[in-house]
């Protein structure tokens, strides 16, 4: 769609004088708690001949946007605001209104900017803003409208089913049924149709801001009903039609719901990725919250149904010691209606484990953890990667002889991965472990490891046990896991939570594929605790690398650097379809390999952890497997 067409469209929507000469008259909502900045910004925008509304509070901004739907074209928001985090506002606006949002901040650090972009900002400006920069912000509005127009045009002109399928495929969703339904209803041109279509077709940022159709504003109440309906149906089964029926609200169409569902899934996916990464991280470091795992599994289950994964950058967590406490917080484990309270950030490598752990804490607050529920992961995927990594690590290190076991039992497919990891395992593992002195409660693992190593190998072979094993590591929360495990009860995983997360992720995704993939998951092979530990570490490491979305990408995507100290996230993002997971797993494993390979993990390591790890492995020799079976043991 050309700019001309956009202008005509704008004009057709009417109601706004001066819109004929778009971008003149473009309606901007500026949000900034700093009155000086806001005043200057307002003036600059007016100078550009935009129509400006300002507010110093995010809550007011949301209210304005919700009440006056279709009255704004663009939102500019500061990042640091007292009443609400700018990123949160960004997400909400994207989710509810599909408007382009530009972030504004005096902080130009890469991490912060990355966070903005991954949360869906279409641009990020640094203060002080120059008028030249503001003169071109209308491009974001045009871009969105073009996407919408293009999508709409295609749908109208071509065979609906064909187009829809295409757009759906682009999304990579696995909700074929949903899409088909939408296709059949394509004929409608009323509310939300265009938007919905474009939503499907556009990427995360390309939401429709078309003014042609009446936009449904997803108020808090409406969204709550939506979430309730989705929960009731179950993520996997939540199709727009049923959701709409359950919601029982007038004036919304199935298309509105479908569009919203799509965004919601993306959102959850990101949260889950963050959660999983954090969980893995925590787990790797001896997370203390078995409950975490449970939550992760549950959350994970929800991920399956969701589509495209959106990478979330890790937040810059400064607190290093809060991870565990956060993880332990009850709120972390509750399902908060699937509505993440905070965006999870997996993203960048953290310079120290504590930061990444901090992320986990953040995860707790979000509802992602809920998604990570292991309960649903009857398929055992998770142990795979950990197992492999573990095996590798153990092999690489002069640890207990038991190390060799896992490797041997690994399936051929796994071996490949193992081989990869193997090379890098030795030191990275140690350094990785040592880094998290506070997190990794190796002491506890000692007792469990030996048992796990010896007895679980066979048991781990099974998928169920795998997932369980990972879960067990975390102790109490492991219980749900135990339901999975068959014989081996529980494999003590060093990074319980991580493993659980991974397991849950894996299991939810595609248990089968994974085993084939054998990246690090050793289904039938020796899933000793070490392997799982390795896997966890690997996974967590990979997590750091904002690799959530990358999971589908080559392993090479994972930069080694991110592994440094960061380990911000266990990137076991819930993959929405099996194939992705497989890749993710392998990616993660690769990531792990890289992680292991780098010696930078040793940064901040204390020698003590190394000793503990070594001890842990040594204990493997003497294990008898008993403790793990019930999975009562508790890390940390």
């Amino acid at each position: 769609m050309t700019v001309e067409e956009v202008k005509l469209q704008v004009k057709a929507n009417g109601g706004h004088g001066g819109r004929d000469q778009f971008p003149v008259g473009m309606r901007v909502l500026a949000v900034d708690d700093d009155p000086t900045c806001l005043k200057v910004l307002e003036s600059l925008l007016l100078r550009c001949q935009y129509h400006v509304t300002t507010t110093g509070q995010a809550a007011t901004a949301l209210k304005l946007l919700r009440e006056k739907k279709d009255q704004f074209d663009l939102v500019i928001s500061d990042v640091h605001m007292p009443d609400m985090d700018g990123f949160k506002l960004l997400e909400l606006v994207g989710l509810e209104m599909d408007l382009p949002v530009i972030m504004l901040s005096a902080n130009g650090e890469t991490q912060t900017v990355m966070k903005g972009i991954t949360h869906g900002a279409c641009d990020y400006l640094l203060k002080p803003v120059r008028i030249e920069q503001l003169r071109t912000i209308w491009q974001h509005v045009v871009r969105r409208r073009s996407c919408d127009a293009k999508n709409n045009g295609n749908d109208n002109d071509n065979d609906n089913a064909g187009k829809k399928v295409q757009s759906m495929n682009a999304e990579g969703e696995n909700g074929g049924a949903n899409r088909n339904k939408r296709t059949s209803r394509k004929g409608r041109d009323d509310n939300g149709d265009d938007g919905d279509d474009s939503d499907e077709n556009s990427n995360e940022n390309g939401d429709s801001s078309s003014q042609k159709k009446q936009r449904v504003v997803w108020s808090v109440e409406l969204h709550r009903k939506f979430v309730a309906a989705v929960n009731q149906l179950g993520i996997d089964k939540a199709v727009p039609k049923k959701i709409l029926d359950l919601m029982n609200v007038e004036n919304i169409t199935r298309e509105n719901v479908a569009s919203h569902l799509q965004k919601y899934r993306l959102y959850l996916k990101r949260l889950s990725a963050d959660a999983s990464r954090q969980a893995n991280l925590t787990a790797a470091f001896g997370g203390r919250n078995p409950a975490y795992i449970n939550m992760g599994l549950e959350a994970f289950k929800h991920y399956n149904a969701y589509g495209r994964y959106r990478p979330v950058p890790t937040t810059n967590h400064s607190q290093s010691n809060n991870l565990l406490s956060r993880m332990n917080s009850p709120s972390a484990f509750g399902m908060h209606g699937l509505l993440p309270s905070q965006p999870l950030q997996i993203g960048h490598t953290q310079n120290n484990l504590s930061t990444s752990l901090g992320n986990v804490g953040g995860l707790n607050n979000s509802n992602l953890i809920a998604h990570m529920s292991l309960q649903d992961s009857s398929k055992c995927f998770p142990t795979g990667p950990s197992g492999n990594s573990f095996a590798n690590i153990s092999n690489g290190r002069p640890l207990a002889p038991a190390n060799n076991m896992p490797l041997q039992s690994l399936e051929p497919s796994n071996q490949q991965h193992l081989g990869r990891m193997h090379s890098s395992s030795a030191d990275p593992f140690n350094s990785f472990v040592s880094e998290s002195t506070q997190l990794l409660d190796l002491g506890r693992c000692n007792t469990t490891w030996p048992t796990a190593v010896s007895s679980n190998i066979q048991e781990l072979g099974q998928k169920d046990s795998m997932s369980q094993a990972t879960l067990r590591v975390n102790g109490p929360k492991i219980e749900p896991l135990s339901s999975f495990t068959s014989p081996s009860s529980q494999i003590p995983l060093l990074g319980n939570e991580m493993q659980s997360q991974v397991a849950s992720l894996a299991s939810n995704a595609l248990p089968m594929p994974f085993s084939q993939e054998a990246v690090s998951f050793t289904y039938g092979s020796s899933t000793n605790s070490r392997e799982m530990l390795n896997n966890n570490l690997a996974l967590s490491n990979s997590g750091i690398n904002t690799s959530l979305p990358n999971l589908r990408i080559d392993n090479s995507v994972v930069p080694r650097k991110t592994l440094d100290g960061g380990n911000s996230g266990v990137v076991v993002p819930p993959l929405h379809d099996g194939r992705i997971e497989q890749q993710a797993v392998s990616n993660q494993l690769n990531y792990n390999n890289e992680l292991m390979g780098t010696s930078r993990l040793q940064r901040g390591l204390s020698g003590g952890l190394d000793d503990i790890v070594v001890d842990m492995f040594r204990l493997d020799r003497t294990d008898d497997g008993a403790p793990f079976i019930d999975g009562d043991w508790e890390l940390v």
């Binding site: 708690d33 700093d34 009155p35 000086t36 900045c37 005043k39 600059l44 640091h80 005096a106 203060k127």
Partner: protein, 155 residues
Amino acid sequence: MQDANLRYPEIGISEVSLTFGGKIGYLDEQFCQVEDLQDEASPNFAEEVVTLFFKDSARLMSNIELALEKYPKDFNRWDAYMQQLKGSCSSIGASRMKCEFMSFRDYCGQGNVEGCMRSFQKVKREHTVLRQKLETYFQLLRQAGPAGAATRPVM
């Protein structure tokens, strides 16, 4: 900034910057941009913004001062507050203050409490000096009237 200093000889920005040996003027080009936004519709825009800035920044600085005292070694909090102030300062082009923020941030990163305190005191001093200079500046502008504005170099 060179131009800004030359532009506002009345308030002696250039003198001051020379005196202090720094190459950074009290105000940078952002201030010019703010002044440029002044037009018939808002003839006193610059002064309004500056007044708003000093009012808001005084509040922020007292928050920081409180935080420095009440939350010892809470570098994250301190840094967050300073970031807020930094945002404000950059909006009106208070360049010397902006520089000091970077020092403060470094000290926070190092965990250097003494350094943070010293740096903050510097920010306070710069803030006071800038306020005086701008007050003088606007006074002169008012006295000069339309003629005064006309004699200023066109941006």
